[in-house]
Amino acid sequence: MSFIPGQPVTAVVQRIEIRKLRQGEHLILGFSIGGGIDQDPGQNPFSEDKSDKGIYVTRVTPGGPAEVAGLMMGDKVMQVNGWDMTMVTHDQARKRLTKKNEDVVRLLVTRKSLEQAVRHSMM
C-alpha cells in the first residue's frame, strides 16, 4: 500500500456500499476514520508504510451499517462515491463521508489481505 509520489497508484480494492442509518436527525455510518495529509502518518497503527497519509478505518461499530456492509478495521479508504480519499485532509475525508443528502456511500477500500488473496489466486 505504499506509493511513489507522482506515480499512479494501483491497488486491489473491494467495493463496499454502506447505507447510512438514520438516528433521529443524524445519519451514521458506524465507523471511525483516521489519517489525512494533515496528520502525522507515523502514528497510524494500521498502515504498513509509515509515510502513508491515507484515510484508514480505525474502528468499526459492531452491528453498525459499516460492519454489515463488510468494512473492516484497518481498511484504507481509496474512494468515496467517486471522490478520491488518498490525498485529502482529515476533515475533507470526514466531510465527504458525512454528506447529509447522501443516503448511501460507496467506498473503495483496500486491505492487505485482499492483495494476498489475489496473489494467491494468481499463482
Partner: protein, 669 residues
C-alpha cells in the same frame, strides 16, 4: 592658478580689480573658489554620478529580476547620496557667504564654543517583525506574493544601505545582518532608517510608459490592472528628494523596478543602548499598494555608540600625583593618560606600549569633582585636585604638572572630557562594543531566509517506529500465549467478534491502536463491544503524554483493572473544524453534550450498553450532524449522569488535544 587636482577651475584675471582686492587681503580666494572641503565633496559627487550611470546601464541591460532589483537598489542609494552631497555643498556655500557677511559687519572673534568630541555609531541586527493575516500564514492560501526590501540608513552625509532581502509570507521577520558603522557622528546625531520595498512581480516595462498613454490604458483596463499600472508609472513616494536640497538634479527615468518608501524612523542618542531595543516605525502606504508588506510597526536593532573620548587618549603627560590623607610629602611622578572614564597613571611612558598595568587609576566620571586648587607655596605651581567618592568615602588626589601651561592644558582637557561626557550621556558609562563587520562574513550568509517555523522539526517517526515494533513483537508472543489460554484480560480488545478473520489482522497492524483502553474485565467473555466503544470517549484525559508511550504504560497499568485513573485515557480527538463547530453548536443539541466524565467510577454498576451509550454520545455534533455514533439501541441520549463536569475545562482540554500535533485525529462517521 591652474591646479591639476581640482576638478573645477576658476581663474582670476591678472590685474583685475578682484585680484587687487585679493592681494590687499580683503577677500580670500577661497571665497570664490572652492575650498579643499568643497573639492572633496565634489569628488564624492562625481564618484556617485559615475556609479549612478553604471547602475542605470546595468538596469537597462539586465534580464534577471534579481539583478534588476539589486541594480535598482544601488541606483536609489546613489541618488540619495548625490542629493545628500549636493545639499551639503549648498550648505557649505551658504555658510561661507554668511561668514563673509559676518566678517564684514563685525570684528567679533569666533566664539569659542566648546564642541563635543565625535564618535562612532553602529547599528546592527536590524529586525523588523511582520504581521501576516493568519489565514495567509498558516493555511498558505493564495499565490506567494514576494517583495524585495532593504534599509537605507542615513546620518548626516553618510548614507549606507543594507543588503536586499526577499520577503514572502513564509517569513516572520525581516532580518538584516549587516552592521553599519558611521564614523563621524556627533552626539546630536540623527540616524534616519528608511525601509524601501518593491514588489517583485510587477511588469517593469510599465514604468517607462508615457503618462498619457498610461492613463488611457489604465482607464480601459480592469480596475486592479489599471491600479497596478498607475502605481508603476507614478513616481511614487519614494523618490529621494532630500528635504534641504535646493539644487534639483534631473533624476533619469529608467525602466525597471522602483522601490517605494514603506516605513521610516529616526534614531538619536536617546535610543543608544548596549542592548537590543525596539523602536516604532512610521509606515507609509497601505494595503492597496503593490509594495505593501504587512509590518508589525516596530523595528528592533542594536544601536551602539563609541564616543572618541572613551576609546582614544584625550590627554597624556607627566604628572605629579599626591593622595590626600596619605603620606603628605610623597608625591609620585607618573605618566598620566586620560582615556575613557579613567586617568591611568603609569610609572613610565613606555609602560603603555608594553601593556603593563598602570600603577594606579583615578576615576574620571560624572561623579568626579575637579577643581583647581590654590598655588602650592613651595613650587608656585597651580595644582588640580580630583575628588571621587569610593563607596561613601571621599578620596582626593592632587595632581600637578610641570609648568603652568601644562596645568592649564590638563584643566582644559578635563573640562572637555566632562563636556563630552555630558553630551554623550549614557555612552560614557561604559565602552560599548562595536563589532566591525568582517568582509568574509558576507559570503557565508545563507541566501535563503528561513522562518522560525521551518526550524522546528517534529520528528516522531523514530519514536513511534521503535515502539510499534516492540508492540508487534509483544503481540505476537501474546498471541501465542493466548492460544495456550492464558491471555491477559486486555487481549479481548484485539479479538474481533467471532466470525471474522482474526489472526492475520492481529499479526498485522490493528492491535496497536494506542487509543484503546479496554474495560474488558467487565466482559471476560471476549465481547469487545463495550471496551471498544468506551475507549474513545474520554475527552478529559490529558493529551500531554504522547501516544507512543501510552500503550506501554497501559500494559503496565492494567494489572489493576478497574481503578484506572482518568489520566490514562487518551483524548477522543476530532478534526479541528468539527470541534470548532461543536463549540459553536454546543448551545443547542443538549442531547449531544459531551459527557466526558471518564466513567471509571460508574463502570461497574452500569451495564455495558449504558456505558457505551453514554460514552458514545461524547462525540460532538459536526456541521453535518453525522458524527453521532453507532448505537445498538435507540435509547435516549440523555446522559445526564455524565454531562456534569465543567464544560469550560473540558472544552479547553479538548481544544488543546485537537491542536496538539502529536495526536492522530480520528473521526466518527
Amino acid at each position: 592658478m591652474f591646479c591639476r587636482n581640482q576638478t573645477t577651475r576658476a581663474t582670476v584675471a591678472r590685474c583685475s580689480a578682484l585680484e587687487m582686492e585679493i592681494r590687499r587681503g580683503r577677500f580670500r580666494r577661497s571665497v570664490f573658489l572652492e575650498t579643499l572641503q568643497d573639492s572633496d565633496i565634489q569628488k564624492k559627487i562625481d564618484h556617485e554620478i559615475r556609479m549612478r550611470d553604471g547602475a542605470c546601464k546595468l538596469l537597462a541591460a539586465c534580464t534577471q529580476r534579481d539583478q534588476a532589483l539589486e541594480a535598482s537598489k544601488s541606483l536609489l542609494t546613489c541618488n540619495t547620496r548625490i542629493m545628500a552631497y549636493m545639499s551639503e555643498l549648498q550648505r557649505m556655500k551658504e555658510a561661507q557667504v554668511m561668514q563673509r557677511v559676518a566678517r564684514r559687519s563685525s570684528e567679533a572673534g569666533p566664539t569659542d564654543d566648546r564642541r563635543p568630541c565625535k564618535g562612532k555609531v553602529a547599528i546592527s541586527d536590524l529586525r523588523i517583525p511582520l504581521m501576516w493575516k493568519d489565514t495567509e500564514y498558516f493555511k498558505n492560501k493564495g499565490e506567494l506574493h514576494r517583495c524585495a526590501v532593504f534599509c537605507l540608513l542615513q546620518m548626516g552625509g553618510e548614507i549606507h544601505d543594507t543588503d536586499m532581502v526577499m520577503v514572502d509570507r513564509t517569513l516572520t521577520d525581516i532580518c538584516f545582518d549587516n552592521t553599519i558603522v558611521f564614523n563621524e557622528a556627533s552626539p546630536g546625531f540623527d540616524l534616519r532608517v528608511e525601509l524601501y520595498s518593491c514588489s517583485s512581480e510587477e511588469d517593469y516595462s510599465a514604468g517607462s510608459t508615457p503618462r498619457k498613454l498610461a492613463s488611457k490604458l489604465s482607464s480601459s483596463l480592469g480596475r486592479s490592472a489599471g491600479k497596478k499600472l498607475r502605481a508603476a508609472v507614478d513616481p511614487g513616494a519614494g523618490s529621494p528628494t532630500g528635504g534641504g536640497a535646493t539644487l534639483l538634479l534631473p533624476v533619469p527615468a529608467v525602466a525597471g523596478p522602483k522601490y517605494h518608501l514603506l516605513a521610516h524612523t529616526s534614531l538619536s542618542l536617546a535610543h543608544v543602548q548596549d542592548n537590543f531595543r525596539t523602536h516604532d516605525l512610521i509606515t507609509s502606504g497601505n494595503e492597496e499598494c503593490t509594495y505593501w508588506v504587512p509590518l508589525y510597526g516596530s523595528v528592533c536593532c542594536r544601536l551602539a555608540a563609541q564616543p572618541d573620548c572613551m576609546n582614544q587618549q584625550m590627554m597624556s603627560g607627566c604628572l605629579k600625583v599626591k593622595q590626600l590623607g596619605g603620606d603628605p610629602q610623597s608625591s609620585t611622578n607618573v605618566y598620566g593618560v586620560l582615556k575613557g572614564t579613567n586617568l591611568s597613571c603609569y610609572h613610565r611612558q613606555e609602560d603603555i606600549e608594553s601593556n603593563v598595568e598602570p600603577a594606579f587609576t583615578i576615576a574620571i566620571n560624572k561623579e568626579t569633582r575637579i577643581r583647581a586648587s590654590e598655588k602650592d607655596p613651595d613650587s608656585n605651581v597651580q595644582s588640580i585636585s580630583i575628588s571621587n567618592l569610593y563607596g561613601g568615602e571621599e578620596v582626593t588626589h592632587t595632581v600637578s604638572a610641570d609648568s603652568r601651561q601644562e596645568t592649564h592644558r590638563w584643566m582644559e582637557a578635563f573640562w572637555q572630557h566632562f563636556y563630552d561626557m555630558s553630551q554623550w550621556k549614557q555612552c560614557c558609562d561604559d565602552l560599548m562594543k562595536i563589532d566591525l563587520p568582517s568582509p568574509r562574513k558576507a559570503a557565508l550568509v545563507t541566501s535563503k531566509q528561513g522562518s522560525l517555523y521551518h526550524e522546528m522539526v517534529i520528528d516522531t517517526a523514530g519514536d513511534i517506529g521503535t515502539v510499534t515494533d516492540i508492540l508487534t513483537r509483544r503481540m505476537q508472543e501474546l498471541e501465542l500465549r493466548s492460544q495456550l489460554g492464558t491471555s491477559p484480560p486486555w487481549m479481548s480488545l484485539f479479538a474481533e467478534s467471532p466470525g471474522r478473520q482474526r489472526s492475520p489482522r492481529l499479526a498485522g497492524h490493528s492491535p496497536r491502536t494506542p487509543r484503546r483502553l479496554p474495560r474488558s474485565p467487565l466482559s471476560p467473555s471476549r465481547c469487545p463491544r463495550p471496551s471498544l466503544l468506551s475507549s474513545d470517549a474520554s475527552l478529559t484525559s490529558d493529551s500531554d503524554s504522547p501516544c507512543s508511550t501510552s500503550p506501554c504504560s497501559r500494559h503496565g497499568g492494567l494489572a489493576e483493572p478497574l481503578s484506572l485513573p482518568s489520566s490514562r485515557f487518551r483524548p477522543r480527538t476530532l478534526s479541528l473544524d468539527a470541534k470548532l463547530s461543536t463549540l459553536r453548536g454546543r448551545g443547542y443539541g443538549g442531547a449531544l453534550q459531551c459527557s466526558c466524565q471518564p466513567p471509571t467510577s460508574s463502570l461497574t454498576p452500569i451495564p455495558a450498553q449504558r456505558v457505551s451509550q453514554a460514552t458514545l454520545s461524547c462525540s460532538s455534533s459536526t456541521s453535518s450532524n453525522s458524527s453521532s455514533e453507532g448505537r445498538r439501541s435507540p435509547e435516549s441520549l440523555d446522559s445526564s449522569p455524565f454531562s456534569r463536569p465543567s464544560s469550560a475545562r473540558r472544552s479547553l482540554r479538548s481544544m488543546r488535544a485537537k491542536l496538539d500535533p502529536r495526536n492522530w485525529l480520528q473521526s466518527q462517521v
